[in-house]
């Protein structure tokens, strides 16, 4: 997947490359790519053919809701292994209307500006520039109405 940068905090220059194919759309606004189980109706992310809850195969590919509410959050202050981007960055779990909780980066790095139940919207953010000069991007959630 190579698409134009859509992150609200990044300049829209250069080619953006996703950290992994198939995680999210390159639409505006972007959407996470999940699956819905045909047997039990529950959702999961990232996509897999098999439902992790009931083991049924043939889960349907779906685009997940672009907005949800904050369920848990923190801030990462030290770069973890294998990460080449900036610190600090926000980190949390957002609950989507599908009844799905997703682990995600957060654009807000100050935990005191976040609270349980706050509305969040999915965005795409850059994490680093690769050897070819492309911006490597991943998914994150941003507060929809920052306080």
């Amino acid at each position: 997947m190579a698409h134009r940068e859509t992150a609200p905090d990044g300049g829209a220059t250069g080619v953006a490359v996703s950290v992994r194919e198939g995680l999210f759309t390159d639409t505006d606004p972007p959407r996470l790519l999940g699956s819905r189980c045909q047997a039990c109706g529950r959702h999961h992310f990232p996509r897999h053919d098999t439902c992790p809850y009931c083991t049924a195969e043939g889960a349907l590919p779906v685009e997940l809701s672009g907005t949800g509410v904050l369920w848990s959050w923190t801030t990462v202050t030290i770069a973890p292994p294998g990460y080449g981007g900036d610190v600090p960055y926000g980190f949390g779990v957002v609950e989507l209307p599908e009844g799905l909780r997703v682990v995600t980066r957060l654009t807000e790095t100050d935990p005191s500006r976040l609270s349980a139940g706050q509305r969040m919207a999915m965005v795409v953010v850059p994490v680093r520039v690769d050897d070819d000069g492309h911006r490597v991007v991943t998914y994150a959630f941003a507060p929809q109405d920052p306080r």
Partner: protein, 392 residues
């Protein structure tokens, strides 16, 4: 079905030992346990070595060094619960009548700094989602929402465990700390400060399991025991391992998503429920507990998951002082991982070593008077949770 006793325990201190190999540490722990059990070569018929990062044939290297090979030797990995898994396998084989006596040991020499877990995929790492302490922080944050836990409660767990650790000669950190200092230590991931997180380190622990029917020299049929004054045996009431059920986004299997459903039982609860049933006891029967305090919030969550208090009551149990030495259900008299550090393969067995001393009544300054029923709990990557019940 045969009952299983612990005939001997041994430990190599937990800490950092630049001049000692993983094999050196394993030999120290194994020799200690064999000596207590009065065993020489031929005295055990199988060996299980718990290790997460030790590499191929870690158990063989230890036993080769002391010339005690020939039997089956299996390296066992179940994350932080590796030692609990090894104990379950060893006890199971004795109960089945396959062996009289089994050696179970754990060794680890953790890399320094934040562990690069082979658990995360490259895209997760690249996205910054491979941040292990951040997952602990997300869990802590939920505990604060759900159980009324505050940062002061988190600090008080550290203060308690570090106070206990002062008297544990095998602990890495043996100085008291106060809550102010804990909260003044570097913020790693809100709400977790550096001193609220345990340190991955090095060490080894060993346990000799034997069928309860066998004499003091359980391995004597194979010419494997020597005489002498042996410490009292401790009964292994249960050794249970369980993995996670799908659905919880914050369980230690670190899924990228989960259900908005609080009813999925945690792996620690699955293991504890099975262990209580197997041992024929309930949480109200426990005199002393060693539990997984990877971080301070993890200990409080374990109170709820193990049934030491009802769901949502961890903060209250903490405030009551019940889990400090002198309280009604002391937790982590060893000082916990917050004092000892965590050598993955050795840590669960290190808990067992501590609790065996408690049940023998020779735990010294940190003795829980009259302790008769003890529980050891570990949980981590996998997810894996192990619960061990010991009685005398």
């Amino acid at each position: 079905m045969t009952d299983v006793d612990i005939a001997g325990v041994g430990i190599h201190p937990f800490g950092r030992f630049a001049d000692r190999t993983i094999t050196d540490m394993g030999v120290t722990a194994v020799r200690g346990a064999l000596a207590e059990a009065g065993l020489v070569r031929g005295g055990f018929q199988a060996a299980f070595c718990a290790t997460a990062y030790g590499g191929v044939a870690s158990g063989h290297k230890v036993l080769s060094r002391i010339g005690m090979t020939g039997m089956p030797i299996v390296d066992v990995e179940a994350g932080c619960a590796s030692g609990g898994a090894a104990l379950m396998l060893g006890a199971g084989a004795i109960r089945a009548g396959a062996y009289d006596t089994v050696l179970v040991f754990g060794v680890e020499k953790m890399p320094k700094g934040m562990i690069r877990s082979s658990f995360f995929e490259p895209w997760q790492e690249e996205s910054g989602l491979g941040a292990t302490p951040a997952y602990f922080a997300l869990r802590a944050q939920r505990l604060m929402q759900d159980s009324g836990v505050t940062k002061d409660h988190l600090a008080s767990v550290v203060v308690k465990n570090r106070r206990h650790g002062v008297h544990n000669p095998d602990a890495m950190f043996r100085s008291e700390v106060d809550a102010t200092a804990v909260l003044a230590s570097r913020l790693v991931c809100e709400p977790l400060h550096l001193w609220m997180l345990c340190t991955p380190n090095e060490g080894a622990a060993a346990v000799v399991l034997t069928s309860a029917g066998a004499g003091a020299g359980a391995g004597s049929a194979a010419g494997g025991s020597v005489g002498g004054d042996r410490p009292a045996r401790v009964r292994l009431g249960a050794a249970v391992l369980r993995s996670h059920l799908p659905g919880s986004v914050l369980n230690e299997s670190t899924p990228m998503s989960g259900l908005a459903d609080e009813s999925v039982p945690a792996p620690s609860t699955l293991a504890a429920t099975a262990a209580y049933e197997e041992a024929g006891i309930g949480p109200e029967d426990l005199d002393v507990v060693e539990c997984q305090d990877t971080d301070a919030a993890r200990e409080l969550l374990s109170y709820e998951e193990l049934g030491l208090c009802p769901p949502g009551a961890a903060a209250a149990l903490c405030e009551e002082g019940a889990t400090a030495l002198g309280g009604r259900i002391p937790v982590n008299p060893s000082g916990g991982l917050l004092s000892k550090g965590e050598p993955l393969g050795a840590s669960a067995l290190g808990q067992v070593v501590t609790l065996v001393h408690q049940l023998r009544g020779d735990a010294g300054h940190n003795q829980v008077e009259g302790a008769r029923v003890a529980l050891a709990h570990t949980v981590g990557r996998g997810a894996n949770a192990s619960v061990v019940v010991l009685t005398r």
